[in-house]
Chain length 561, copies 2
């Protein structure tokens, strides 16, 4: 079917939508791919729907190639299985919840681990029925607090989610590797610049996990990239490597008066030492028990990372009331030496390192406080926010930090859901074997925005070929003879299997048509202009801008190749 702009519902806009901040948001709206329905809910117009379908097709082909079986589960799901897994409450406000006419509780599925687990429990009874990889491309829901950036982070969105079911850890690793390879093929075919990085799995539970990140300024994820080796990771997943500590004979601990120095800045200035020489102690409540976290004075604690490490325990900040009746805790002057509460610390607080820290008395600090000599660390944790130049955990080079969009995520979930739903199959030895699972996601609608972010230029969108709504955009410069030739060419190219968008609008100036063609971003633009009468057309590469005059036959041969 030749797409004719004279008939297509498409209204391009000259101005950016008022609320748009990111390039993809602006351009997808201006070029007529999407329109906002309500906050975080989007309408996919004809061109946008085609891009969505193209991405889905590539995903389907690669999922089928690794033996994935496509299914379709409901989006509206009963509460019970999400109670069983704990996610009914864990998801908090992110979950859209509702009641049916009988008052029964339902939710709109954010991901479907629970229902897939139940389905496999119903369908598979023997180890012979496994492994199995199931996937769906489906509408998902998350009630984001601040839906933004257009379709990059919507509240209703399209996602490919898949789940693997194996009887052994080796099987799970294999299913995981199949997905990893399929994802690399998918994102390569879609034309992404992407990195595969280590990740923390977050609320999904589980162990091994990697993210597929598309570097882009509009991204909400930060990742570290080693300029010297292959290492890359979500910044939350970076592990700190501490070099060997020199065996120094530190002077004895010594307390000094440091009037009015409750902050690291004030103390460092007062003593004339760098902030990194100070041991900063943050107090939190872990399951209600006051606990100190020691980090170098020039570092910030990532509370999300801390909570992640200590889960399922809850982590809260202390409040003024927590100090009532606790003369041992002196705000702004806490030190680990002789402190009677649990003490966690960043790996940089290694045994043998010496610090300036609080003396547990107002306006007093201690110098030469040595880890392992003057205090002990109960547990080392990676909880500080990574900074550019931090050492690569693999090669030690200084890490770079970049922004990226998460376009895919693969998890080895293990037996978390299988345990919750008692998913066993009969094993080879005739005994029940607990199943182990993986879960794998690709944001389909997000991929549209991420590609737009990565590939656009000053003139508009600029789609990779497999994703573009058409292969060629024919612009009929305006006269009747040109439109006629353009439509004739469109028909011939279509017959040759080329996907054609033709601008056959009457009463629209060639200038507007060229501007629209750049904005819409089909890879090749074919201009039927002045040379049309003598059978000459112009081919323009949307990305490079390279132009070439060709005869009509040459153009057809070139584009059908």
């Amino acid at each position: 079917m030749v797409l004719r702009m004279s008939r297509l519902m498409l209204k391009t806009l000259r101005d950016d939508p008022a609320d748009a901040e990111t390039a993809s948001h602006k351009l997808l709206v201006r070029a007529g791919y999407v329109r906002r329905s309500s906050a975080g809910m989007w309408i996919w117009l004809p061109l946008g729907k085609k891009v969505l379908e193209n991405i889905s097709r590539v995903i389907r082909e690669e999922m089928d190639a690794i033996g994935g079986q496509e299914v379709l589960l409901p989006a509206l799901l009963p509460r019970e299985p999400y109670e069983t897994s704990g996610r009914w409450s864990e998801y908090g406000d992110l979950l859209f919840r509702l009641k049916d006419r009988k008052g029964a509780d339902y939710l709109l599925g954010p991901t479907h681990e629970e229902i897939f687990t139940q389905t496999v429990k119903d369908q598979c009874t023997s180890y012979k029925d496994l492994p199995v990889i199931l996937y769906q491309i489906q509408t998902k829901y998350r009630d984001e607090a601040r839906p933004r950036s257009g379709v990059l982070r919507g509240r209703e969105f399209q996602m490919k989610d898949s789940y693997s079911f194996d009887t052994t850890d080796e099987g799970l690793a294999e299913s995981y590797d199949l997905h990893r390879a399929a994802y690399i093929r998918i994102f390569t075919r879609l034309g992404f610049d992407f990195r595969v990085v280590s990740a923390i799995s977050g609320a999904m539970g589980g162990s091994a996990s990697e993210e597929f990140l598309a570097p882009a300024a509009a991204g909400e994820d930060t990742f570290v990239d080693c300029p010297a080796c292959e290492y890359a990771a979500n910044s939350e997943a970076v592990t700190t490597v501490v070099g060997p500590v020199k065996d120094v004979d530190h002077p004895a601990l010594k307390e000094v008066d440091t009037p009015d120095t409750p902050t690291v800045e004030a103390l460092a200035a007062h003593l004339g030492v760098p902030a990194s020489a100070v041991l900063k102690n943050l107090l939190v409540k872990v399951d209600g028990e006051i606990t100190a976290i020691g980090v170098p004075g020039d570092r910030e604690v990532d509370l999300g990372k801390l909570a992640e490490h200590l889960a399922p325990a809850t982590v809260e900040l202390v409040t003024a009331e927590d100090f009532t009746g606790r003369p041992d805790l002196v705000r702004g002057y806490v030190g680990p030496q002789g402190l009677g509460i649990p003490y966690l610390a960043d790996p940089r607080i290694a045994p043998g390192t010496s610090w300036v820290t609080g003396a547990n008395a107002p306006d007093r600090h201690a110098l030469n406080v040595v880890a392992g000599r003057d205090f002990d660390v109960d547990r080392y944790l990676d909880v500080v926010i990574v900074q550019p130049g931090d050492p690569c955990p693999v090669c030690g080079a200084g890490l770079a930090l970049d922004r990226a969009i998460e376009i895919g995520h693969i998890f080895q979930l293990g037996r978390k859901y299988a345990d919750a739903f008692e998913l066993d199959v009969l094993g080879q030895q005739g005994k029940p074997v607990r199943v182990t699972m993986g879960s794998y996601g690709i944001g389909v609608s997000r991929a549209v925005a991420a590609l737009a972010e990565q590939t656009h230029d000053g003139a508009g969108l600029c789609w990779p070929r497999e994703v573009a709504p058409a292969d060629v955009h024919i612009v009929a410069a305006g006269k009747a003879v040109q439109t006629e030739l353009a439509l004739d060419l469109a028909g011939k190219l279509h017959a040759a299997g080329v996907r054609v968008l033709v601008d056959d609008r009457a009463g629209v100036s060639p200038g507007v048509k060229f501007t629209d063609a750049e904005l819409i971003g089909v890879p090749t633009i074919l201009i039927v202009g002045r040379g049309a009468a003598s059978g000459v057309v112009e081919l323009k590469d949307r990305r490079t801008g390279a132009r070439e005059e060709l005869s009509v036959d040459e153009a057809i041969a070139r584009l059908s190749a």
Copy 2:
């Protein structure tokens, strides 16, 4: 991709699910196409998903062929536009409603007239932008009071909905006709036995409307079918034709004592007349005003039809309290003569017809009560339930009544939604023109069940070719050599473009495999059995049961043709 049953997630069941009543529900579950998730919510397993996709593909092809443009709208929709149209409340309990984290009201879309109207208002500004036909294949929601019959009437279901936008009534009629023709092609290709019948449009509003019905015992719709001419209609849409009334000189009205005869049955027995000679008067409240409806004594009033005719007025039944202080209304003895309330009647109560009816006094009836002489009818309405043998409104022959499943519905909505949303475009004369709309639906998931109802037999499902999950189901009878040949054949057929399902399961008896093949219902079954060693296989037509022995090469040639 060859579908191998040794790897497919498929568990057939020998027994019907306990809660299943209809054949499609039983067989789709038993053959492993669908599984219930919760009441009215269904999981589409791999084979079911394929059938769903096949139906969607046929619909897409035919919608594209009439110039339809595919889009995708959100399923989660804001309350406001549904307030504007009035459907937020009109839909009552059928609507799933929910609030987001900020307390804003949302609904899960049952159909999308409102949002499509808004979209076209945003995208189209001139008569030159129209006509336009937009469609989507999308998940829809209706909180049915009693979800039943499997996927035939779910609470979450797949639907193709399309909407046409025109500037003139002739344009709307053309868009409607395009859809009508496309629907006929779609249902023919899908292998349906179907009828196109006149319909009342119900809560959708609008005027011209037809339903596509698939006759089936499990259907929830009743339609009439004329055995003598082409006439067919939803039984609610049948119009009553009354023959000419003979000009008879009726005797004068005469009141008689009829003790204890408040019912038609009692009265007819007492007087020795047929029930059809009695004029029965039902009292209702129309917008609160007591109104009588006269119908022949052997007829029942369809309250739904009555409400439809009188909408937007509300219709309620009278209660005992309504008779308080109304000595003129004598329960069981009401007659239209001298009655001081509005009087509506069935067309059979034509002027000149004579009746036995109440005398508006306890235990008294009147004979020879002639319409137009002794009482007047304020308005004639078609409100009685149609019965077999009622005259065809076209040719007068006795109508037959049948059960059917509604698989499609087309409406000329007119300007109802365009008025609500003030959808105008600039007309040819430079003045705003109000747009007129059509709305058109096909139940995609329901079509799966409806086809199963129409095409199954005692052994299982029996799919039409375009819908079947595969073209051929190869059964490897069991020995290794047979499985090998079966897989080899499968590969060759797949290469020739044939969609293949192959039963290569080890340790499953040939009997079980044959039973499963019949149950699953792929059109052609190819048996690789005893003759395999000498290169002979057996082809079986699933529908007719016809079997034929062929060489492997002949089988490939036949199936690839």
